[in-house]
């Protein structure tokens, strides 16, 4: 049994014509960070000492994704991170088994969306009603990363999903199902179940976020023939970010050499770059981005300390690169942003809008994104999200218990 203190969900604003998809500067980590920040902002000051990150699309399989995840969320680097490959049942299991102070994050890429559940001392209770684990790998992805389909949806439905549900021996029909297409979910549920925007691990979080009956709900999480059933005894507190969906802009990718990476430079920049922090001169307090040995203002070389930077600002100047460049999709826009309330500017890429859809004087926020991938290494940092898009993003459907 665990308590759902708050839930956050995030959807990217792009579509491939059929489904929501991530932008070129997003991945499971950036989506997970976005969802985690939404739920932590909603929950206020609730301590987090453990993160469980569930996805089928973990960017790095060696070395892990914990450091960028914690830096992007703004959690201390001593927080335990468990990274797990899994779908909706794995997420529901992780939530059910979590101790207070655990943040369970799930991120899907196709369709794209992410959710985060903060398990704490308050909120409705979630308890597992039943669990079935059976092998029906109609879609498989092994270590080679290649997705293979065993093209027999009726086999999966009849012999996989339905048989596993029968084995659960539920006393009532669920009100919401994660991991099934809407048509199948309707056949399984009582009444008309909410349609969920994703079907992977994040679907379990969207299912919990969709609970509207004060009496609670029976939630089913399905992945192939694996199913977890859980009961929630109330309506959770939810914060959602769901920008209007637009077609993913067409870009051109040119073959050629990638931009090289220096891991020594990557390492030196990591904390300020991924936590959005400046060096504050210990002698005079002048902020420097990036931090530097010698103070920009007073010339002190005595030392500096990292301090958080504002995440809002205004475009001082900006340009859009149209010419094809190897290894980077074009066009893309770059801006120098004057941050609010501090004497700091930052040179960053623009995100969330078509290239060129910004001008000098535009306001916006700095958001965690994958700036580039260099020799296979994801390179995270911050990008500028123009305000028009921020407003769209803030069409938040909020419900509280």
């Amino acid at each position: 049994m665990s308590r759902l203190t708050a839930i956050g969900t995030v959807l990217p604003g792009w579509s491939d014509g059929k489904r929501r998809v991530v932008g070129l500067d997003e991945d499971a980590v950036t989506l997970g960070v976005a969802a985690a920040r939404v739920v932590l902002e909603k929950a206020g000051t609730v301590p987090v000492d453990r993160v469980v990150f569930v996805s089928h699309d973990l960017p790095l399989l060696e070395g892990g994704n914990a450091a960028p995840l914690l830096a992007g969320i703004g959690l201390d680097e001593s927080v335990v991170v468990v990274e797990q490959v899994g779908g909706a049942p794995a997420v529901l299991d992780a939530v059910a088994g979590a101790l207070p102070g655990t943040l369970v994050i799930a991120a899907d890429l196709l369709p794209a969306g992410a959710g985060a559940v903060l398990v704490g001392e308050t909120g409705p209770e979630l308890s597992v009603e039943g669990r079935v684990v059976r092998s029906m790998p109609t879609q498989s992805r092994a270590a080679d990363g290649i997705v293979r389909e065993y093209d027999d949806p009726r086999l999966l439905w009849e012999q996989g999903v339905r048989r596993s549900i029968e084995q659960l021996e539920l006393t009532e029909r669920p009100t919401v199902v994660a991991g099934l297409a809407a048509k199948q979910a309707r056949q399984v549920c009582s009444g008309t179940p909410p349609e969920l925007p994703v079907i992977g691990g994040a679907a379990a979080v969207f299912a919990l976020a969709a609970i509207a009956d004060p009496g609670g709900a029976l939630v089913l999480a399905v992945e192939q023939a694996n199913i977890t059933a859980a009961r929630v005894d109330g309506v959770p507190t939810v914060a959602s970010v769901a920008p209007e969906v637009r077609p993913l802009p067409r870009t051109r990718t040119t073959p050629g050499p990638d931009i090289a990476i220096s891991l020594a430079a990557y390492d030196r920049a990591f904390e300020p770059k991924l936590r959005w922090e400046a060096g504050s001169c210990d002698a005079c307090g002048t902020l420097a981005l990036p931090p530097r040995l010698r103070c920009l203002e007073c010339g002190s070389e005595e030392g500096w300390s990292l301090v958080p930077l504002p995440r809002t600002g205004e475009v001082y100047t900006g340009v859009t690169v149209h010419v094809p460049v190897p290894g980077l999709p074009t066009p893309y826009s770059l801006v120098i942003v004057q941050l609010d309330d501090v004497d700091v500017r930052a040179l960053v890429k623009v995100t969330g809008v078509e290239a060129g859809a910004m001008q000098i004087g535009d306001r916006g926020t700095l958001v965690f994104r994958r700036i580039s991938t260099r020799t296979g290494i994801p390179d995270y940092g911050y990008a500028f999200l123009p305000e028009a898009d921020v407003e769209a993003a803030q069409h938040r459907e909020e419900a509280s218990a």
Partner: protein, 386 residues
Amino acid sequence: MRRVAVVGAGMTPFREHFGLGIKDLVPMAVSEMAAHVDKGLDRSDIEAAWFGELSTTDGFPSGILADTCGLLDIPVTRVENACATGNDAVRNATYAVGSGAVDVALVVGADKVRESSTRTTFWEWAGMTRDSAWDYPLGLIAPANFALHVARYLHESPATREHMAMVAVKNHRHALPNPKAQLRFEITIEQVLAAPTVVEPFGLLDCTPQSDGAAALLLVAEDVVDRYTDRPVWVRGVGLGLDRVMHQHKRDMTSFPPTVKAARAAYAMAGIGPSDIDVAEVHDCFSGVEMISYEDLGFAERFGAHKLLEAGETSIGGRLPVNPSGGLKAKGHPPGATGVAQCVELFEQLRGEAANQVDNARMGLAHNVGGPTAVSAVTVLGIGKD
């Protein structure tokens, strides 16, 4: 400091020299320079050389100069100062001659941008001038680097893209008679505005081509100048200026402070002001950069550069012709060679021998800015000693 004279100048054509390596271009430029020394040059007179090369394509630059030019018994120093490399090589040689350390110094500048594929060049060159963790992964290619300035300049000043196009049109027209120029064809404002966008606000015709080439100068002390010519051109002033490297640390991006500093130093050394300049070779890697530079060099009031273009003052026949050679825009831009070649042009202009001659040119200025907009070098050459 002793007075320093330029007594010889030469350069290869600027273009895509696929068939020639740096080991060919460097000796070709030096030989052309030597052939144009009025009273001849005995190479054994050369006591030291400075070699401006930004990126090396065939190995160790100083050694290549010594080896390929038959100068194995003198010291050779490579100068690398981003796009200010060429004029900084001139500055270093000037100090050596002026100080009395040597009487005869060779200055060479060369680069071979087209030794790499057009696309590879973006990252090779950006890698030399960008912060590896913060700027490089953003895709801050060279045009973007300058476009960040020009976009803000267009925002604050009355200048428009049409004025930028006027720079490109003028410099293409100036390049027509120049046999060394890479782009010898006229263009129209309409063509510039309609060209494919490279990085807003730069279209393809606002941008310098990628070039290969080499240029050479012979600098000698006043004491020995008569051995080489009766018509020397004098190095009247040199200056170098720097600025914060990262764009976010530049307070006012409508100006290039390195240029202001370099020009101030060069004018002061020459004992002149901007109004004394009769002809200038100004860094125009991208059309808008020439406009900002008019103001930084003191040729125009702040945000007044467009007026010079509207009045045709910087065209041949105008009050202060700028880039009679075609500039970087049309003559070409092999970075290490660029500044040296600007001085080759001024040498010819001041002696009345230029392909695109400016009438009565007595004082000339050469200017580079680069790296990313954090360094500038300015050289002032004149007919008169004082």
